[in-house]
């Protein structure tokens, strides 16, 4: 369909189950946290998050 996919928020037990079941993730990027995946998605889209005004 033309969209890049990332899987994040994988719990330890889920990672174990995926390996034990022999599921092939293939080229899909996997990250443990949403923060990491979101940072990559931003970068790949050429976007950044900046502060609008200084913190007092």
């Amino acid at each position: 369909m033309g969209a890049e996919c990332m899987i994040s928020g994988i719990r330890p037990q889920i990672a174990q189950t995926i390996v034990h079941l022999g599921v092939d993730i293939g080229d899909v990027l996997t990250k443990a946290t949403l923060a990491d995946a979101f940072a990559i998605a931003l970068r790949r889209s050429g976007l950044t998050v900046t502060r609008a005004r200084a913190v007092e």
């Binding site: 330890p12 990672a15 990250k31 923060a35 990491d36 940072a39 990559i40 790949r44």
Partner: protein, 129 residues
């Protein structure tokens, strides 16, 4: 219940296997390690097997599993300290450990993890923390 200790060094986790692994110990290690990788957001796992004189297919499979689980959680695995006799046995038994990289020493292993991490960050971008 015995547990294999997991030490944190920067953003890498160090595991030293010194005792014979039986089923329950191996499963406990997998549980503890995956948990710790997520909690400490580790990017690398170093498994030191320099104390192991014998490695059988069970341990070979366990190391392969750990490497696969770690990769899903975005961490690379390096096995260090493999004894010559163990390397010979693994080859003769045809036990390739897919996805498991090896290094001769802890220092070299950490160097491998760092350069792998730099490579991933240049491809995917890094998180400023």
């Amino acid at each position: 219940m015995d547990r294999i200790p997991i030490l944190k060094m920067g953003d890498c986790l160090l595991v030293t296997i010194q005792v014979d692994m039986h089923d329950r110990l191996a499963l406990t290690l997998q549980d503890d390690l995956t948990d710790r990788i997520v909690r400490s957001r580790a990017r690398g796992v170093l498994i030191d097997i320099s104390s192991l004189e014998i490695v059988n297919s069970f341990i070979g499979r366990m190391l392969g599993n750990i490497a696969a689980m770690a990769r899903i959680l975005d961490a690379e695995t390096v096995v260090v300290g493999m004894r010559p006799a163990v390397a010979i046995t693994l080859v003769e038994l045809g036990l390739s450990m897919p996805g498991v990289r090896t290094a001769l020493s802890v220092e070299k292993g950490i160097g491998m993890l760092r350069s792998a991490q730099l490579q991933r960050e240049s491809l995917n971008g890094s998180v400023e923390r």
